[in-house]
Symmetry: C2
Subunit: 290 residues, 2 copies
């Protein structure tokens, strides 16, 4: 199954353009086949994560970005539903707090990267800081930046800082995988209407959902630049066709499987100096009256 | 007084060698003149820090490194003794904890960088991670690194990561200034003997002080490489002659003054839309019976 989703993988900047990717792609398969493959992958992720925990060296950071309604929450829920909850840490990044605004934009993010042996999932991430304040300059003005450092070069600087930060993480053994859930504007319209029309979903609707929709093209441009500047062999982006939720979930799950499987981790053997102690413990327990 | 200590400033890597710097240098002045200048500088730091707090944009990160007994604790105590304690945050970095060892080496450091408006002081820092485990490989083995990522290239990678990290901080408005307190091996011998001989100082002596002394040359080499790789115009190193404690304190204090003075910060004026509210508040308070 290695690198099954190669066509969706971005590892360098040349000519990257979201418009070249079809949000409605479903790989020529149907929903029932997709759901069966997702179930297989979810089970395998649980097994692979056990091995990561036992080895406690490698970690995985899975970053999810996408427009409103792209399916970030649901994808995270489905893909990592089989994993021991102690082994996966999901962090949702909202608007920065006043305290967070007195620090560099990577400060709050760095605190939540996964430790060795764990999977960290970011529902939104440091990429918001090269999207939202770029499109809404008033958000940048809330940050405690000196004026001389808030010029237009801030975006290329932040993208460099992100690339360096992710490189640093990978050098410790934290695999970085970034998923852009790619929906079409028409599919977003449909999903927003569903939120408004269905009592069970209406709590999810926010007035800003509609106003942000007016900036669709600006977001696509900002994403193109962010993905171009930060895609690397050690920190690839994946452009996930997301108009079909079942397909998006399957693709993400299979990419996570491939990523972890490539580590080729075994459950570690007890060290030789521990074997005698383990044997003694077994004998002592056996000698007790049952 | 601008750039009075230019000769001690390192902003690029070419041919850097600690051996070229005299630890016993005292700038041709005597102790009483030095102490008077230190007192002036300490008072001015307090005033400049008030302005930083009021503006809440810029921050200062002062990093202190040096061999045992080089005078880090005493220098920090003297130089920042005049500052509002709410405006300065001193962090001493000891051996990493087991939790910290499951993260990248910058993780714990990043949590303690100063917010806008404050001075952060690091007593030891992320530079320990390119010194101690380099000289004592068993310390590196305690980290939860995958074996394939613990090869000899780790040192140049970490130095790159440090340079990138500090660059990122400066782009937010955190001035980074790094002080190497440069003592001679002879002066260290004298100070260690003092610790052993004086009841008031003996609590400071640790058996490792003596064993680390045996690695003096290895540390000098590691420092040469670290300083070469991370000195930059935006994040300079200062090689502080530290055989005379009074001189080291004066030089550090004057460099901090110059750094903050160059920001040219004023106490901010109230915004025009606030003036009317301030005037109304003044009138309301005056109208109350005294």
């Amino acid at each position: 199954m290695a690198h099954r989703h190669h066509a969706l993988t971005v590892i360098d900047a040349d000519g990257f353009d979201l418009a070249k990717y079809d949000p409605a792609d479903h790989g020529g398969i149907d929903r029932s086949e997709g759901e069966a493959r997702t179930a297989d992958a979810v089970a395998e992720i649980a097994d692979l994560q056990d091995r990561m925990m036992a080895n406690e060296t490698w970690a995985l950071l899975a970053v999810f970005q996408g427009m409103d309604t792209a399916g970030k929450d649901g994808t995270i829920d489905h893909v990592f539903s089989g994993v021991d909850p102690a082994g996966v840490i999901v962090t949702s990044f909202k608007q920065p707090t006043p305290e967070e605004r007195t620090q560099d934009f990577l400060w709050r993010v760095h605190q939540h990267v996964p430790p060795a042996g764990r999977i960290g999932v970011f529902n939104r991430s440091h990429y918001e800081d090269v999207l939202v304040p770029r499109i809404h300059p008033e958000a940048l003005h809330l940050e405690r930046l000196p004026k001389s450092l808030a010029g237009p070069e801030i975006w290329s600087h932040r993208l460099q800082d992100i690339a360096h930060f992710e490189h640093m993480l990978t050098r410790r053994g934290t695999l970085v995988r970034k998923f852009f859930l790619n929906i079409s504007k028409g599919e977003q319209r449909k999903r927003l209407l569903e939120r408004l029309d269905q009592p069970a979903k209406i709590w999810k609707f926010q007035p800003t959902d509609l106003s942000e929709r007016n900036f669709w093209e600006a977001y696509q441009t900002a994403y193109n630049q962010a993905i171009s500047a930060t895609a690397a062999p050690h920190a690839p982006w994946f452009i996930i066709p997301a108009d079909h939720k079942w397909y998006a979930r399957m693709v993400v799950a299979e990419i996570v499987v491939e990523t972890l499987r490539d580590l080729n981790l075994k459950i570690p053997e007890p060290k030789s100096d521990l074997r005698a102690a383990l044997d003694a413990a077994r004998e002592a327990l056996k000698a007790e009256a049952p």
